[in-house]
Amino acid sequence: MPIALGRARNVLQYIVHSDKTYVCVMALHEAVPEERVREVCREFVGPIYQRPPLKASVERRLRVRRIYSIEVHEVVGRLVLMTVKCEAGTYIRKLCHDIGEVLGVGAHMAELRRIQTGPFTENENLVTMHELHEAVVAWKEHGDDSLLRRAVLPVEYVVKDVPKIYVRDSAVDAICHGAPLAAPGVLHLTDDITKDRRVAIMTLKGELVAIAKALMSSHEILEANKGIVAKPVRVIMRPGTYPKSWKSSRLEEKG
């Protein structure tokens, strides 16, 4: 469960829409030969239809979701242990129900654990409350912040797989105030930016400035001499971290 602290607190809503991986136990209502279970699960890989359940907070319209993979690990009696990698907003409970329908015997989801949300996986950097507590004690009582630095990831980790635009120092503060990014401010960019995609605006020091919506593709940005390339939707960096560009030219005049 990723928890975002302080100024970083609003970034997670931008990864709610990322892919997820779950491990689940599906309970069939009658025993089915393992090969048949595997065969039907294979059929569910790809786009599927789902209508959100009654308890969901979203509109209950029929929608398409992608199942990227289903790996059946074990079938023991009526229990099926599987790993499902899928698009955000896929209801695993409904998936188990539908697999049961196709098998003809019915099924329900008995257990579920999410092991991956976008860049966050179970194996890397997972911290327990106990470990976090120990890290804080080491910091507060012994002045040792090393455990805490390992337990808490920098906000930049959230955007590690997100397309990026690296900007000049002089463009940073305006973006912190919500100003759109114009072509002249761009230094480097990843080649996977498409129009309307969420991108991360970064400084050359690797700091996350803001999450933005791209108005041009990577190649358009590369060719553009003017025009707005991206509009911030969530500013993370505190304004004033970098100086306003007019101020730096004033310093040059004095110097």
Binding site: M1, P2, I3, A4, L5, G6, R7, A8, R9, N10, V11, L12, V16, P53, K55, A56, Y91, I92, R93, R114, T117, E124, L126, V127, T128, M129, L132, H133, V136, L148, R149, A151, V152, L153, P154, V155, E156, V158, P163, R168, D169, V172, V186, L187, H188, L189, T190, D191, T203, L204, K205, G206, E207, L208, S218, I221, L222, I236, T241, Y242
Partner: protein, 68 residues
């Protein structure tokens, strides 16, 4: 994913700070905890504990499982 270079310019080290060199208070204010959530308490309760423990005023979580 490749990098495209549109222009080059140096960054001024008088401003800003590379993420791995942040003073601890700033590191926490721009931090993410990938918590192994204990079963039982809600995401909301756990987030509240973490806020108190780390002395941060605000925090957000990405949720654990879908409601059903």
């Amino acid at each position: 994913m490749g990098m495209l270079i549109k222009a080059e310019e140096a960054t001024d080290y008088r401003y800003g700070c590379p993420p791995d060199q942040r003073p601890i208070e700033l590191h926490l204010d721009l931090g993410i905890v990938n918590l192994d959530k204990p079963p039982g308490p809600t995401s909301h309760e756990v987030t509240s504990w973490v806020k108190k423990l780390l002395g941060v005023e605000k925090a957000g979580h990405g949720g654990t499982l879908e409601p059903c």
